[in-house]
Symmetry: C2
Subunit: 267 residues, 2 copies
DNA sequence: GTGAATTGTCTCTTACAAAAGACACATGTA
DNA sequence: TACATGTGTCTTTTGTAAGAGACAATTCAC
């Protein structure tokens, strides 16, 4: 489309696989990349580094950041040359929560569940085709089971992923899962067909348990939350030590399913 | 000085710039206006109405909204022609909370305070020069005292406003307060000098009480939260019926000041 | 000290995004 | 039946925003 002469001026930086580098980008896209970059770094960052990070021209980055800071979407950190998310994003986020019954009630249920059971509990959803931990409440165990809100993990690595994709077309699922997603952290490679079979199974049983997938020490129990239309809108899950006894696990799954079902009831 | 806030009430900058005239706007600015518009409407809205609301061309609005929906900053509501804030904004908002000790602990303290006292409690901050209720927890009174998170109110109308501006230059304060801000809801007009005097008083007394300013039925008690550098970073406040007895008020103010002071201690 | 690297601001050019407008297809309503 | 009103997707045009680069003012490394 745009390259009539093939070779234009390729900036010689970016040895990393950043395909978004090209010639001219829309300002809005740059901003979206900036926000996403801040989301993954999880801390304030200098504007210069930010420009490098999103592979954008420095001058452009400065003007965009200034706009965003003026608008309150970003804030300058202390000394004044590092930026991070701003209050306005927090306010917009609260607006989202207010307008979203499921999320509001789900957060509550998750907090209750982890308090009652002492285990780490999470509310998970699809976020533009990716598995996302929307809210998590740590358990009371001395070993902190890691799981941060907003963390994104490949769908095949999780019990929730198997529930969230219930009822989707094979082609849709295939498009949502990359090759690297199928490569589990322990080195095994999952077959797409096996994953799809798992999804079908999870759908009929109404819950899903995975052992040692994300890491070798935990087991993940998940139950679906349905929308009024009958789609899987979210999942609630518990993360427990992998050696948890079967009776205990069954008990927790029953509780989990009850709470997830309660969430499914609108109102 | 401050600009780029082309929403409802125009700050009296000058008669020259008529930005409502349909000149070509930067896409990013349009997006910022869209977000702000959604924030004030507080519910999903059709794209056509959105275009009207921010005074942008329809075609432009469609493309921008599509970008934002693809990015997850906005989401299509139910039937698919209304949009509102999306999950990504919620995640970014949580990132902000995580990176902000004061906000995280402040929310907690406010919740505690309203539970203990039964009164509506709020955490307030400056947000790009404007007074903002960052978090609020309703009291147990039958009459619901109105105060929504994210609400923005003119600084001179509030007790918190008098604390938040402590230590600022006269000129700075003047620039942050418009003529219409000085016109109180009950019709009285506050003099800028009186307001500045109030600020100085509040600074020395270490708290502030206003009666019947925002509405005729409530009294607002506020105490400052200091940053490590000694600036007023936020305020905590309680909203109580205007006829609350003096002893009760004094008691609440003491409690409020104690909690605000606790918040001021980093860690 | 000296030189390299980073930061923030500025100017100028042109590639391209915002805007205008036409279109097809729904609705509703006289 | 015509007649308005709203919606979503095109294409075309042109005003301007993204980007390159130069600059001074810093910081850092030695």
């Amino acid at each position: 489309m745009q390259d009539s002469n093939g070779i234009t001026d390729q900036p010689v930086l970016g040895p990393a696989a950043d395909k978004t580098s090209g010639s001219r980008e829309k300002g809005l896209n740059r901003v979206l990349e900036i926000l996403e970059f801040l989301h993954v770094t999880q801390r304030a960052i200098g504007i210069g580094d930010l420009a490098k990070g999103v592979n954008a021209p420095r001058s452009t980055t400065y003007t965009l950041v200034r706009s965003l800071v003026d608008a309150g979407l970003l804030e300058m950190e202390g000394d004044g040359n590092r930026v991070y998310f701003g209050k306005k994003l927090y306010l917009y986020g609260m607006d989202y929560v207010r307008g979203n019954d499921l999320l509001r009630r789900g957060r509550q249920e998750v907090d209750n569940l982890s308090r009652e059971t002492g285990e780490t509990s999470e509310l998970c959803m699809l976020q533009s085709g990716r598995y996302t931990i929307v809210h998590s409440s740590p358990g009371t165990r001395p070993f902190r089971i890691s799981s941060a809100t907003g963390l994104q993990i490949p769908l095949p690595w999780t019990a929730s992923g198997r529930l969230l994709l219930a009822g989707l077309e094979r082609a849709t699922i295939r498009d949502m899962v990359s090759e690297s997603d199928l490569l589990l952290p322990d080195g095994r490679r999952l077959q797409l067909d096996d994953f799809i079979a798992d999804i079908a199974t999870a759908r009929t049983t109404g819950y899903c348990i995975t052992s040692g997938l994300v890491d070798a020490y935990t087991k993940c129990l998940a139950a679906p939350v349905f929308s009024a239309a009958g789609n899987v809108e979210a999942t609630m899950c518990l993360v427990v030590p992998i050696d948890t006894a079967k009776e205990k696990t069954d008990e927790l799954v029953a509780l989990l399913r009850e709470r997830a079902a309660r969430l499914s009831i609108p109102g």
